[in-house]
Symmetry: C2
Subunit: 550 residues, 2 copies
C-alpha cells in the first residue's frame, strides 16, 4: 500500500509560484506586454533569490536589454541567482556577479570576457558549475538545471505574444521550451511589436511577458572573415586539407569551424578544388552559419545544402535568395536552430575541421590559455566521434584501420594549427595552459576542448599527421612531432624516421600530395576581399560597416 505522510505533498509548486509572481506584475502588464520602463520593477517580482535563470547570450544574438535590466535590480531583493548563459559576451553578464545579484554560473563560451571570468572564479566571486559544449548545456536544462526564469530575445512579437525570431532563431526555442513547459517564466525582449508577424516561430502560449526593448538586441557578425587577411601559409594548409583529407576520404558532409584556415578552404573550392575535379564529389552538405566566404562555392554549384546554427549579419538577403541551399521560412528568411544544427553536426556529418591555439604532444587541445577561460562553444560536440552513430558514408568507412566483424567507422576530427602562434609562441606545448587554469579554478577536470584520442588528423604548414592510423601513443607522438616544425616538440623529433612515417601513411608532406609550396598564392582565392564576395553574391551580401574598407 502507498506510504502515507502526515502532510500531503503538493505537486504544483512551480506552477503556483509562477502564478503568484505573474500576479505581482499584473498591474504593469497589458495582456502580456510590459512597458520598457517597468522592466526592472517586473524583474524584481518575477525573479526570486536562488532562481536558476537562463539569460540568452548566443554566439551572436544577445538579450542585451534584459541583461542590462537584470544588472539594475537590487541585490538586496534578488541575489544568489544561478545563471545559465551559453555565451558570456557582455560586461553586465559578469557585473551580475560583482554586484552580488548572481553567485553561480554554468556556461559554454566566453569570448571578450574570458580574462575577467577567470579572475572572478579565482577570486571566489563566481562559483563555477561547469563549462559545457552548447548541446550539453541545452540537455541539462531538461534534466538537473531546469530554469525558473528565462530571459530571451526575439525580433518581433504580436500583441498576443507570438514571436518572430527570424534568421537569428538560434537557441531561443530550446531555452523557451525548458521554461514554458516546466512552470518557468518566459520573458522576451523584442525589437518591435507588430500587428502581424512575418511568420510565427514561437506560439504565444509559450510566452509570459513581452517587452519592447529601448534598442534592438545586440547582434555580432562573428563568422565574417575578410579574405584580405588570409595568409599564404593558410592557403598552403588549405590546399593540403583539400588534397590530403577532403579528397582522400571523400568528405561529403562537414562542419567548418570559425577561423581563417577554414575560410581559405571555402575560397579554394571554386579554384583549386575545381581543377582537381572534385566538384560534386566532396563538400555537398554543410552544417555551419552562413559564412560569407562560402558564397563563391555556393555560386559555383559546390553546395547542395547548408543548415545553420545561427544567422550572420549582412547575409540576410543573400540567404533569402538561395532557398534551395539554406533552410528558410515561409517569409523567405533564414531558419536557424542551434540545437538541431549541433545534433546534425554531431551525428550527420563526416567531418569537423577547426583551429586551435594550443596542442600537447598527445594532440589534446584547448582554446583555454593562461588566465583566459574562453570556453568551448560547439567544438567538443562536433569535434568528437559520436559513438552512437550507425550509418555509413565513404569517409566514415575509410577511417577503419582494423579488421573485425564488429568494426565501425569513425568521424573525421581535423585540427589545423600553425606551429607558431602570433607573438612567436609555439602552438605545440608540453602541457596545455588549460591544466593550470583548471587547477586555479578548482575545476574537477582540466578544461580540454578536444581530446587527442578524438583527433584523427592534424594539419600544420609542415604537413598532415594521420593520427587515426597510429597504433599506439608512441607512434602518435612521432607523427605529430614530424609536422611540429621548429617548436620544441618538432626539434625533439628524429627526422630520420620521416621516410618510414611517409611510407606508412602516418604523415604526408606537401610534396606527397603533389603540392608545391610556391603554388600557395593568394591569387588562388576565389575572392580576395569583401568586395569580391559582394560581387559573387550579385550584390546580395551586405557586409556590416566595420568590414567595409572602401
Amino acid at each position: 500500500m502507498p506510504i502515507t505522510e502526515d502532510t500531503p505533498r503538493r505537486w504544483t509548486e512551480r506552477r503556483d509560484e509562477k502564478f503568484r509572481r505573474l500576479l505581482a506584475a499584473k498591474s504593469w502588464l497589458k495582456g502580456k506586454c510590459l512597458p520598457a520602463e517597468r522592466i526592472v520593477d517586473a524583474l524584481e517580482v518575477l525573479i526570486t533569490s536562488g532562481d536558476k535563470v537562463v539569460l540568452e547570450g548566443n554566439n551572436q544574438k544577445q538579450a542585451s536589454f534584459l541583461s542590462e535590466s537584470l544588472a539594475k535590480v537590487s541585490s538586496n531583493r534578488i541575489n544568489r541567482l544561478h545563471m545559465l548563459i551559453s555565451s558570456i559576451s557582455r560586461p553586465e553578464h559578469l557585473d551580475l556577479f560583482e554586484k552580488g545579484i548572481a553567485s553561480k554560473l554554468d556556461f559554454s563560451y566566453a569570448g571578450p570576457q574570458s580574462l575577467r571570468i577567470a579572475q572572478l572564479i579565482e577570486d571566489g566571486v563566481i562559483e563555477l558549475g561547469a563549462i559545457h559544449t552548447y548541446l550539453e548545456l541545452y540537455g541539462r536544462l531538461f534534466v538537473d538545471l531546469t530554469p525558473n526564469v528565462v530571459l530571451v530575445a526575439a525580433d518581433k512579437a504580436d500583441m498576443e505574444g507570438n514571436l518572430y525570431t527570424g534568421p537569428n532563431t538560434e537557441e531561443t526555442p530550446t531555452i523557451i521550451e525548458a521554461a514554458a513547459f516546466s512552470g518557468g517564466i518566459v520573458i522576451v525582449q523584442v525589437n518591435e511589436l507588430v500587428d502581424k508577424l512575418p511568420r510565427v516561430d514561437i506560439p504565444a502560449s509559450w510566452v509570459d511577458v513581452v517587452v519592447q526593448a529601448e534598442k534592438p538586441y545586440q547582434l555580432e557578425a562573428l563568422f565574417t572573415r575578410d579574405p584580405r587577411q588570409i595568409t599564404e601559409v593558410q592557403i598552403l594548409m588549405a590546399m593540403m586539407a583539400i588534397r590530403g583529407v577532403y579528397e582522400k576520404h571523400q568528405v561529403q558532409s562537414l562542419n567548418h569551424g570559425i577561423g581563417f584556415n577554414t575560410s581559405a578552404i571555402e575560397l579554394l573550392l571554386p579554384t583549386y578544388g575545381e581543377r582537381l575535379g572534385l566538384k560534386g564529389k566532396i563538400c555537398k552538405h554543410w552544417t555551419l552559419n552562413p559564412h560569407p566566404t562560402l558564397i563563391p562555392a555556393i555560386e559555383s554549384g559546390w553546395v547542395e545544402r547548408v543548415h545553420c546554427f545561427g544567422g550572420e549579419v549582412g547575409m540576410e538577403k543573400y540567404v533569402a535568395a538561395r532557398p534551395d541551399i539554406f533552410f528558410t521560412g515561409p517569409d523567405g528568411s533564414l531558419r536557424s536552430n542551434r540545437m538541431i544544427c549541433q545534433v546534425a553536426g554531431l551525428y550527420g556529418v563526416d567531418m569537423f575541421i577547426g583551429s586551435t591555439l594550443q596542442m600537447d604532444r598527445d594532440a589534446n587541445s584547448s582554446t583555454v590559455t593562461a588566465g583566459r577561460l574562453a570556453g568551448f562553444g560547439g567544438a567538443p560536440n562536433m569535434g568528437s566521434d559520436p559513438r552512437g552513430r550507425r550509418h555509413a558514408t565513404p569517409a566514415w568507412l575509410d577511417l577503419i584501420t582494423q579488421q573485425s566483424p564488429t568494426v565501425r567507422g569513425r568521424k573525421l576530427v581535423v585540427q589545423m594549427v600553425e606551429t607558431f602562434q602570433k607573438g612567436g609562441q609555439p602552438a605545440f606545448v608540453d602541457s596545455l595552459d588549460a591544466i593550470e587554469v583548471g587547477k586555479q579554478g578548482n575545476l574537477p577536470i582540466a578544461p580540454v576542448m578536444i581530446y587527442g584520442d578524438d583527433v584523427t588528423h592534424v594539419i600544420t604548414e609542415e604537413g598532415i599527421a594521420y593520427l587515426y592510423k597510429t597504433q599506439n601513443m608512441e607512434e602518435r607522438r612521432m607523427a605529430l612531432g614530424a609536422i611540429a616544425g621548429m617548436t620544441p616538440l618538432g626539434r625533439e623529433h628524429d627526422r630520420s624516421l620521416n621516410d618510414r612515417l611517409r611510407q606508412d601513411g602516418l604523415i604526408a608532406l606537401p610534396e606527397d600530395l603533389q603540392i608545391r609550396r610556391s603554388d600557395a598564392k593568394r591569387s588562388l582565392l576565389a575572392a580576395k576581399s569583401i568586395e569580391d564576395l559582394i560581387d559573387w553574391s550579385g550584390g546580395l551580401y551586405d557586409p556590416p560597416e566595420k568590414f567595409r574598407t572602401w
Copy 2:
C-alpha cells in the same frame, strides 16, 4: 570574378515545386483543410516519384491514416520513394515496398515487422540506407536526407492549421521543421478539427495540409510493464543494480530502458532503496517516458523531475496532476519531445541502463537476432559515452581509473542480461547473430546495438562485471566470463580466478553486495500488480484495457 554559366541557375526549385504541387491539390482544399475522402488523390499530386518522404512512425504514435492512404496510391504514378521512418510498426509501412511505391528505406526501429523487413531486404525489395539511432536520423533530415514531403500525426488542429500534439508530441516538431523550412510539404492527419486548441504546439505557418482522419491515430502503450510478470531473478538483479551500481557510484540522473529488469528497479526504490537510506541521494533526475512503474517512486518523493521522449497511454491524468515532476504545457498535459529528450539522455545524465538479448565475449550486444532486423531506437545514442561532455558529476568522476592531467570522467552504460533467454538460448554467444544478419543484408557494418567498449557494467543473475575497470581485453573477457553462469562462455571461465577478480573489484557477487539471494522476493516490490499502481496513483492512472485483469 564570378564564374558565369550559360544558363543561370535557379535557386528556388524546391519552393517552386512545392507551389506547383499545392496548386494541383487546391481544388480539394478549404484553406489548409482536406476532406478525408480526397487524401489518396491529394497524395498522388503532392508526392512525386523519387521523393524523400518522412512517414511519422514513432515509438508509440503512428500516422496510421496517412500510411494506409499512401499504400493506396497508384505505383504507376508514384514509385521509387525513399522512406524515412523512425519506427516501422505497421504492416503497410512495408506494403509500400511490396507494392512498388517505395524502394529505399532509412529507419531506426522495427518492432513487430522485424522479421518481414529482414526478408524484404534479403529479397532485394527494400534497398536499405541504414539503421540509425533516433537522434542520428533526425540530424540527417537537416543534412543529406532533407525530406520533400512529411506525413505526420497530431491530436487536433484549428481551422487555420495550428496544431495541438499534446502528450504525444514526440518527434512531430522535428520532422515538421525539416520540411517546413526547406520547401518541403507538411501533411498532417488530426483526430479532430476544433475552433480553439488547448495549446499551440506547432504554428499554422509550418503546416500545408490538414486532414481529419477517419479514426484517431494508432497509439500503443509500449512502456507499460505489469508488475505481476516481474520474476524473482529480475528482483535479484535489480537489488544488485541498486547496491552495486546506483549506490556505489551515486547515480543521480539516468535513463531506464524499456523492460522488466528496469521496472523492477523502479519498484524497489521505495522499499529496498528506502531501507538503504538512498532517497534523495540517487535517482533524482530522469529522462524516460512516463513509466507506470515509476509511480510509487514518484509518490514516495524519490523523483525530482522527469523529461519524456513521448507519452504513455493511461498516464495522461496522472502526469497532468504532477506538473512539478513532469514537463507539462499551459493546458496541463504532458509535453514530450523526443529530440530534446535524446539530447538530454545523451549529454545530461549519469547513466543509461537497459537490457539486451545477446552479448558476445567482448560485451558487444544487439537486439538484432537471426532473421530479425529489429533496429536500435534510442539505445546506441544513450548507451554511448558522449565524448563531448565536459561537466562533472559524482558518478561520472567515479569512473575515472587512470591518473593523468587530462583525464575525464565517463558515462555509465549498464547492460542487464539474464544468462539464458526464454527458450533456453544462452545470452552470451560466440558471435552475435547481428554479424550474420549484416552479411545477408549486405550492410557495410554489422548492426551492433551497443559496442562493448562503451559498456561499463554488465549485470547478470550471477553478479556484476565492472568492465570499466578492466585494463585490457583479456581482463574484460575474464570479468564477463565470471558472471556468465552456465553459458558456454561461463563454463569456459576458470572459477579459481574469481577471488582475485572480486578483490580487484572487477566483479561483485551478490554476497559482496550484502545481498542474500533468498531476500529477492516479489514481496519487495512496491507494487505487485497494475491495480497496485492505480492505488499508488490515487486512481489517476488509467491503464489500457489489455492490462486490466480484473
